[in-house]
C-alpha cells in the first residue's frame, strides 16, 4: 500500500514534470524571415562575451556575432538577455529563436539542443613574462605558477607540472593576475579571456607559453530547427572565412579567432 502510493506520487510528479517541460519549440526559419526579427538569447554578465554597455544595451562578442547573424539572415536582431542556468529553457520554450550565449559545446547539452559549428572558444594556457623561455610543462621545473584555487587551470597545471614546480593558489583570477602583474610570480595559468583583459592593460609584457585545454562554443537552436541550423552554419562558415569573426574577436579579445576554434569540428 505504502509502496503503491509512493509509486503513484512518483508517476504523477513525472507526468507533471514532462507536461511542464513540454515539447521543444522548434524555430521556423520562414516564420523568422516573415516576422523580420530574430530573437537572440545572450548572456549580459559574461565579459567580454556578453555585457551591458553604459547605455544599458547588450554588447560584447556575442552581441556583435548576433548582429552579424541577423544581418546575414536579412532580419533585425532582437536581443533577449538570458542567464547561465535559464538559457537552454529559454531556447526550448521558444522564447528565443537562437542562443548566441557563450554556450560551451558539451555532449550533455548536445543531447538537448542543436549546436552550430563553433563560433568562439575559451582556452586555458600557461602565460608568463615575455622574456621567460617555457616550452612545455617540463620547463615549469623550479618555477612558480599562480592560479585561481579550484579553477580548471588549477587542476590542469597541477596535473602537468613537475613535482618541483611551485603552484601558488589564490582565491580568484583577480588575485592570481595581481601576483603576475606585481612580479610576485612570473607565470600564471589563466584563460584567454582573462589574458585579453591583461593585454589591454599592459600590452605585450606577457605571452602564451603552452596550452592546457580548450572549450569551443556554438550557436544553439532548438532540436528540429533544421532549416535555421543550416542557415546558421552557413553564416558561421562565411564569417570565419571572410574575417568577420576575426575582426570581432580582435575587438573584444585582442587577437584573431584562435586556431583551435577554426579547426574544431
Amino acid at each position: 500500500m505504502q509502496l503503491n502510493r509512493r509509486l503513484f506520487t512518483t508517476l504523477a510528479a513525472g507526468a507533471l514534470a514532462a507536461g511542464l517541460a513540454g515539447p521543444a519549440a522548434a524555430a521556423d526559419l520562414a516564420a523568422i524571415e516573415s516576422a523580420g526579427t530574430v530573437k537572440v538569447g545572450m548572456l549580459v554578465d559574461f565579459p567580454p562575451f556578453g555585457i551591458m554597455d553604459s547605455a544599458g544595451q547588450p554588447d560584447g562578442y556575442d552581441a556583435d556575432v548576433a548582429k552579424a547573424l541577423a544581418e546575414y539572415l536579412g532580419v533585425q536582431p532582437q536581443i533577449v538577455p538570458v542567464t547561465g542556468p535559464n538559457r537552454i529553457p529559454y531556447l526550448l520554450s521558444g522564447q528565443v529563436d537562437v542562443l548566441v550565449a557563450s554556450l560551451g559545446i558539451t555532449e550533455e547539452r548536445a543531447a538537448r539542443v542543436d549546436f552550430s559549428d563553433p563560433y568562439a572558444g575559451i582556452s586555458i594556457a600557461v602565460y608568463g613574462d615575455a622574456g621567460l623561455e617555457i616550452a612545455g610543462p617540463e620547463a615549469l621545473s623550479g618555477q612558480t605558477v599562480a592560479v585561481a584555487r579550484a579553477s580548471t587551470q588549477d587542476t590542469a597545471v597541477t596535473e602537468v607540472a613537475p613535482a618541483d614546480a611551485q603552484i601558488r593558489r589564490f582565491d580568484d583570477d583577480a588575485s592570481a593576475v595581481q601576483a603576475l602583474m606585481s612580479g610576485q610570480v612570473r607565470l600564471i595559468g589563466a584563460s584567454n579571456v582573462v589574458m585579453a583583459q591583461i593585454g589591454a592593460a599592459v600590452g605585450d609584457r606577457f605571452d602564451k607559453k603552452f596550452d592546457l585545454s580548450s572549450q569551443v562554443q556554438g550557436i544553439a537552436v532548438a532540436p528540429g530547427s533544421d532549416a535555421l541550423l543550416e542557415k546558421v552554419n552557413a553564416f558561421v562558415a562565411e564569417a570565419r572565412g571572410d574575417g568577420t569573426l576575426d575582426e570581432i574577436h580582435q575587438k573584444w579579445l585582442g587577437e584573431p579567432l584562435p586556431d583551435f576554434v577554426k579547426n574544431a569540428e
Partner: protein
C-alpha cells in the same frame, strides 16, 4: 541525511597538520616581533618627543582604521611596485607584525600610563638607574596590568592569520581550502579546521597562563 565522509580529511591529515605547524610558527614569530614593535611604539608614544609621537600616532591610526585584508594586499601586491618583493609567507609575517604592533602599542601605552609617578620616584629613591627603572618599575608592572588584553590580542592575531591564505601563504586555512578544492568535503574539512584552530587557541592560552605564573605573579599571592 548528509553522509559524513572523513576519509579525505584523514588521508590528508598530514597536509592540515603541516598547515597548522606553519600557523603556529607564523603566530609565534608575529607575537614576538609584534611585542617588540609594541613596546618600542609605546615608549615612543610616552616619551614626550613630539615628532616621534606623531609618527607612532600616524602608524597606529592608519593600521587600526584599515582592514587587515587591505594591509596584506598592499604589502604583497603593492610594495613590489617600489621594489620590495617578499615571498607569501614573509609578507604574511610582516603584515601580521605591522598589524599587531599597532594594537599592541596602544595596549602597552595604557599599561605604562597606569604606573603611578610615585612608583617611578620610589625607584629613583632606591637608587635604580634609568634602565633599571624602565625595566623593573615601568615595563614589567605595566605588562602585568595589561597582560589579559595583550594575550587576547595575540590569540586574535593567531585567528586572523587565517586570512593570509589570500596571498597564497601555506597556513592552516590555506591547506583546508586546497583540500576542499580537491575533495569537496567542505563540512568535514571545516569541522576539522574549527577543531584545530580551537585547539591552537587553547594551547596558546595555556602557554600564556604559564608565562603569567612564572613572570607576573609577584609579590607572592597575586
Amino acid at each position: 541525511m548528509y553522509q559524513f565522509n572523513f576519509q579525505p580529511v584523514i588521508q590528508n591529515l598530514d597536509l592540515l597538520l603541516f598547515g597548522a605547524w606553519l600557523t603556529v610558527r607564523l603566530s609565534l614569530m608575529a607575537m614576538l616581533f609584534g611585542l617588540v614593535v609594541s613596546v618600542l611604539g609605546a615608549v615612543a608614544k610616552t616619551s614626550g618627543i613630539r615628532p616621534l609621537r606623531w609618527l607612532v600616532d600616524a602608524y597606529v591610526e592608519v593600521i587600526r582604521n584599515t582592514p587587515f585584508l587591505v594591509q596584506i594586499f598592499f604589502i604583497f601586491f603593492g610594495l613590489p611596485a617600489v621594489g620590495i618583493s617578499m615571498s607569501p609567507n614573509t609578507a604574511a609575517l610582516v603584515a601580521l607584525v605591522v598589524n599587531v604592533g599597532a594594537y599592541g602599542t596602544e595596549i602597552i601605552r595604557a599599561g605604562i600610563e597606569s604606573i603611578p609617578r610615585g612608583q617611578i620616584e620610589a625607584g629613583r629613591a632606591l637608587g635604580l638607574n634609568p634602565v633599571q627603572i624602565f625595566r623593573y618599575v615601568v615595563v614589567k608592572p605595566a605588562l602585568r596590568n595589561i597582560y589579559p588584553s595583550l594575550t587576547s590580542q595575540f590569540i586574535y592575531l593567531m585567528l586572523t592569520s587565517s586570512v593570509v591564505s589570500v596571498i597564497s601563504a601555506n597556513d592552516l586555512a590555506s591547506a583546508g581550502a586546497d583540500l576542499n578544492a580537491r575533495t569537496f568535503a567542505s563540512f568535514e574539512i571545516y569541522l576539522v579546521l574549527t577543531v584545530l584552530y580551537f585547539l591552537l587557541a587553547l594551547g596558546f592560552s595555556t602557554l600564556f597562563a604559564a608565562i603569567r605564573r612564572v613572570f607576573f605573579t609577584y609579590p607572592a599571592g597575586r
